[in-house]
Symmetry: C2
Subunit: 322 residues, 2 copies
């Protein structure tokens, strides 16, 4: 009997819900305890546990790896928030906003070290391989963040460059979480590879959806202000494709709208997006990545019923119109 | 035949002097290559190699660990410089001063990941133990930096608190570098413990000397401005002890000098230090820690001639008056 999403969330929380850091210095460690207890969806640890259970019963080592990827993810959030000068995260003031940049910086550092403490808890057999994948992924996530900052300074970014960046910044950690769990489950290299590709493509589909919802989402369901990306000229799937494909007056209008912050900017950009078919294009692109993800899931050589929880997770993450 | 300090420095450089980071994104990785090639004294990697050679011929794994501790040390410098808003490091502009805080922050992060890449190169036998010591040390170094920042905000810090902080911030990495090397050399727990204590006490002696030289050093030999710590009211061994022991008018003068930045501040503080015997006290304290260090070196159960290079290193690091 495979675990449900809810049961995995619950069992991860009961494993993870304890103090992770020493008591002193409290000025360093207490802000971190507070930050990680303000949970988020715990998607990455769940992926890690599902990656294990796809191949075998969940081993305690998968929980250690799940904690490591969750701490690593939280470390990236704390540091990204400093770099982006973000005031809020998950609806609360960011660590640096409350405790100062120095403590947030140092706290992120020590959170990464504690992530490696969790990696180091697993049995020796898989340790070297696990650290190798974890490190490769960690470097890629940093590279993605650097590219994102570099792109902010450019006038024009190509769609393929954007996809490359967003994949490093967000998808590879989802993919690696699945793969790390699968290693504990004894997966072959072949199966690890397909599972990784499932996660990577699912991550890109999710990011396209995220960009789409920011423009076209129902504010009551989406839970954040719609049009925020448009207001701030954020380079998204939508804007990059619109600049590549809009023609004539629409392109000229879009370019001049990027220089304004008028009250009707969001409305006007949205109408250009719609006239240029950007909404439909984004849905199709999301669907294409989702199809790729499912293709790789199909290729994994385990019985179809073992894949149910990963399909359920994909359905939970990605809304399909059709 | 044991290696000399010079031969170890040379062989570490020939191992270490290559590109450590990927080519792209160059905006992230090139500043790091440049920073670590601007070498410093490479004390920590040398300690690591000496720790190995104390017990056995140097194994290639000791070079991997030496690279890991050197990268970790450089990571702390890059991040500390952000926190301290330092404009210069080793006579050159700091990473954040040239490339911006965001890149310095992210670059430090990725440098730490690459340190773990080097740890992960060693044979499986010692991997878990090595990561455990490395992580414990990394956390302590972060704790030391946090305490240092906390102390900056306090009016009064006790000598024992300062020693605790400075030991975490600087000595434990020296001690751990020795221990990590000794593990590769097959040292017993007993010998590892004494070697660690040798490094820890040597590190404290070195820090006392550093504080001493900033006040009483010969500017032509010391290579940096004498009195900088006094000018900036930095809490050092000297100032903390002076505030604990100076009496009457001297104490009152010292406290009012801390509130000024007059041109004769350094001169006046120095004369209080001398009248209160702070210079002599600091030399004796340094000597006491050095004696402790040598005691632990004596306790290590290997033939005395194997300890020559560590004695030579201690003599190279610590100037003795007598």
């Amino acid at each position: 009997m495979m675990s449900t999403l809810e049961s995995l969330q619950k069992s991860f929380e009961s494993y993870f819900n304890h103090r992770h850091f020493p008591a002193v210095p409290a000025t360093l460690y207490n802000p971190l305890e507070e930050f990680i207890s303000n949970s988020g969806k715990r998607i990455r640890p769940i992926l890690c546990l599902m990656g294990n259970e796809l191949f075998d019963e969940i081993h305690s080592d998968a929980y250690h790896l799940a904690a490591a990827v969750e701490l690593f993810h939280n470390f990236t959030l704390v540091h990204d928030d400093i770099m982006d000068k973000a005031p809020l995260r998950r609806g609360k003031p960011t660590v640096h906003a409350v405790h100062g940049e120095a403590t947030a910086l140092l706290g992120g550092d020590v959170m990464m070290v504690v992530a490696y403490d969790y990696l180091n808890k697993i049995e020796n057999t898989h340790l070297k391989k696990v650290i190798q994948i974890f490190n490769k992924t960690a470097k890629e996530v940093c590279e993605g963040q650097q590219l994102d900052m570099d792109f902010e300074k450019l006038d024009k970014v190509k769609l393929e460059e954007y996809i490359h960046m967003i994949q490093l910044k967000t998808s590879v950690l989802l993919a690696a979480s699945l793969q790390l769990g699968s290693i504990i489950g004894g997966a072959s290299e072949h199966n690890q590879g397909h599972l990784y590709e499932f996660g990577r493509n699912l991550g890109i589909a999710f990011q396209i959806q995220d960009d789409y919802l920011d423009a076209f989402g129902d504010p009551s369901k989406f839970g954040k202000q719609v049009g925020g990306d448009i207001q701030s000229n954020k380079k998204t799937f939508l804007l990059i494709h619109a600049l590549e494909t809009a023609a004539g007056q629409d392109l000229a209008d879009l370019q001049s709208l990027l220089k304004t912050s008028s009250s009707d900017k969001v409305e006007k950009v949205l109408s250009i997006y719609k006239r240029s078919g950007i909404d439909e294009w984004a849905n199709q692109l999301k669907e294409a990545y989702l199809e790729k993800a499912y293709h790789h899931l199909d290729e994994i050589a385990v019985s179809s019923n073992r894949k149910e929880s990963l399909r359920a997770l994909a359905q939970y993450l990605i809304i399909r119109d059709k």
